[in-house]
């Protein structure tokens, strides 16, 4: 990368860390460190919620997915606005009213200490691992693109984030998120403008080409439980996933607990509801436009430069043969695309041009598939070539300076997600375990020191996990699968908390039953796509918890917000 681009990245890193340290001034207690004294404005919390959810995977993987698979992934978010509205009138006032630090703290007041500790423990295990995966995803890509060893790229992303999160707490995290979100959106719009300028056909022609290749197909109304991205899995499965994520995951709950009031917390969630689908559509559209761009500008056969080098060294003759075939297929596809763009829509000429283009596109895809298979055989690892499409485009096609801004935006996306995770991991460690079980009478100054140490500890854990996860691709899948076992189940416990006659131990057993049910469907008994796992987990907990509560009698319960509830 050009030195000017590196200077932009370094200036950004120094600024984020410096600003984080500046924000730490005046923080004297854990409420200030973890919740900013519940004093943040709605727009800052809203941008922080969006920045936390928009990770480097979105910037790299989702854009790449747009290029190879089109717009249909946006269906994943169809349930989000409804989830935000439901949370705004249920969980937000419930948790804000209870004046808790963590979502799990509320479960002890409503049910019992074991339910709180188990949910908090599951959160720590899952988020500790997934935080590593969040660092690993861009670290692997940067490693391949820049030719650095993975520990260095992990450190480049991880260490600045640990420093400003550890010192500045949630104040630093939230205000860094605000600036990072602005940087990310600016970079996304800039890349759209560059693409529209550089694609040699009109925007309408570009969309005709994308449409003919199936990249603009967004809606799939088939009701198929094994298909991941359909309208129904997005609306129903996505609704439960978003309810679980935004309603029970401490990394999100902590964002709106730091808002000034219930109404500002609600508004911050509605801000996310307002912008999420348009923003995600924009991210995918960038991928679609990059696909169209590479129809007119010959791309590498393999986008992953590390795999390309490995294949060239191990199987040079096979690679050259594939490249020759690719060159011919690509040239024919380019000619077909120009004819399609000129034909417009509706006429029989356009239909013929579209059919010819699709046929050429299939030939190019077939050669690419052969190349990916060869790379997989040579390197003995999954290629994940899709994750390298955007970095390759950014570094080879964007003008000087803009590549640096986009790389800084990818780092911003990673850092905003990691910072929120570290902050919430530290909160749960200190509030749900250290202060609850070990030092209930600890002083504010002592808790503040422990909180900063806990943030640093989880940061180091995340970096270590990232370093190993980067080389063990299947580990990330195991971690994700493990995480999905209890996401919906924890939501089920919170839903159960709103049932007046539900009781402590039935809730605990229900949680175990929900996790078991999700584990069963995860291993194919029966086979159900992962977006439905949260629905199954939540409903199982709710049914088992209600049934056992009804069977074991209606004992005394602590209703939400009960003043006699214990406070830790």
């Amino acid at each position: 990368m050009h030195p000017v681009n590196w200077i932009i990245v370094i200036v950004y890193l120094v600024y984020v860390v410096g600003d984080g340290i500046r924000r730490s001034r005046g923080t004297t207690d854990v409420e200030g460190y973890f919740l900013a004294g519940r004093s943040l404005p709605w727009w800052a919390v809203g941008l922080s919620v969006m920045a936390t959810q928009l990770s480097a995977v979105t910037m790299i993987g989702t854009t790449g997915q747009g290029a190879t698979d089109g717009m249909r992934f946006v269906q994943f978010y169809f349930g989000l606005p409804i989830a935000m509205i439901i949370l705004g009138v249920t969980i937000v006032p419930l948790l804000r009213g209870a004046q808790v630090f963590t979502a799990y703290e509320y479960l002890e007041r409503r049910f019992n200490a074991p339910t709180r500790s188990l949910t908090a423990f599951l959160f720590l295990c899952s988020r500790g691992m997934s935080c590593g995966a969040i660092i690993a995803a861009p670290a692997v890509v940067f490693s391949a693109v820049f030719g650095w060893d993975i520990p260095y790229t992990v450190a480049l992303i991880g260490i600045p984030t640990i420093i400003y999160t550890m010192i500045g707490g949630v104040q630093a995290v939230t205000w860094a998120d605000v600036k990072q979100m602005v940087l990310i959106v600016a970079a996304l719009f800039a890349i759209v403008i560059v693409l529209l300028v550089r694609i040699p056909v009109s925007p309408a022609g570009a969309l005709h080409i994308a449409g003919a290749a199936g990249r603009l197909k967004t809606f799939d109304f088939s009701f198929n439980l094994t298909e991941t991205y359909t309208f129904w899995s997005g609306i129903l499965g996505g609704l439960f996933l978003m309810l679980s994520y935004f309603g029970t995951d401490q990394s999100q709950v902590q964002r709106y607990l730091s808002a000034r009031s219930v109404s500002e917390a609600r508004t911050s969630l509605l801000m996310s509801a307002y912008w999420k689908i348009p923003l995600q559509a924009l991210v995918l559209l960038i991928g679609v436009l990059v696909f169209v761009f590479y129809i007119f500008q010959r791309p590498p056969l393999l986008y992953n430069p590390a795999h390309e080098s490995a294949v060239r060294a191990a199987a040079p003759s096979e690679l050259v043969a594939l490249e020759t075939k690719y060159e011919a297929a690509w040239s024919q596809r380019e000619a077909a695309a120009r004819a399609l763009a000129a034909a417009g829509r509706g006429s029989s000429v356009a239909q013929t041009a579209a059919a010819a283009f699709r046929s050429r596109e299939a030939e190019v895809s077939a050669v690419r598939s052969d190349a990916l298979e060869l790379a997989g055989t040579v390197t003995d690892e999954s290629s994940r070539d899709v994750n390298y499409i955007i970095p390759q485009f950014v570094l080879s096609q964007l003008p000087l300076g803009m590549a640096g801004i986009f790389i800084a935006a990818i780092m911003a996306a990673a850092m905003s997600s990691i910072a929120a995770e570290l902050n919430s991991l530290s909160t749960s460690t200190v509030v749900d375990f250290y202060r609850r079980w070990y030092r209930p009478d600890a002083s504010q100054a002592g808790l503040l020191v422990v909180s900063r140490l806990a943030t640093g500890f989880w940061g180091i854990v995340a970096c270590v996990v990232a370093t190993y996860a980067a080389t063990l691709g299947s580990l990330i899948e195991v971690v994700n699968r493990f995480g999905s076992f209890f996401y919906g189940s924890i939501l089920g416990v919170f839903l159960l908390a709103m049932v007046p006659f539900a009781r402590g131990w039935p809730a605990f057993i229900g949680l175990l039953a929900g996790m078991s049910a999700v584990a069963a469907v995860s291993f194919g008994a029966p086979d159900v796509s992962f977006l439905w796992h949260n629905v199954i987990g939540a409903l199982t907990v709710l049914l088992v918890g209600m049934l056992l509560s009804a069977l074991t009698g209606r004992g005394s319960t602590l209703l939400p917000g009960d003043a006699s509830a214990r406070t830790q």
Partner: protein
């Protein structure tokens, strides 16, 4: 506990109360849902207009 920043917390006082005008939340809700319908309609038009 102290509250650095000292910002207003009126609608948290006493637990679940929310002093925001009910009409304001409804209006925000209508705006959010209108935006979603428009976004989905645009995506639908994009899909249908440019499919061959």
């Amino acid at each position: 506990m102290s509250h650095p920043g000292g910002a207003a917390r009126s609608d948290d006082a006493g637990g679940h109360a929310d002093t925001a005008p009910p009409g304001e939340f409804r209006r925000t809700l209508v705006r959010v849902m209108t935006m979603q319908v428009i976004a989905l309609a645009l995506l639908w038009l994009l899909q249908e207009w440019f499919s061959h």
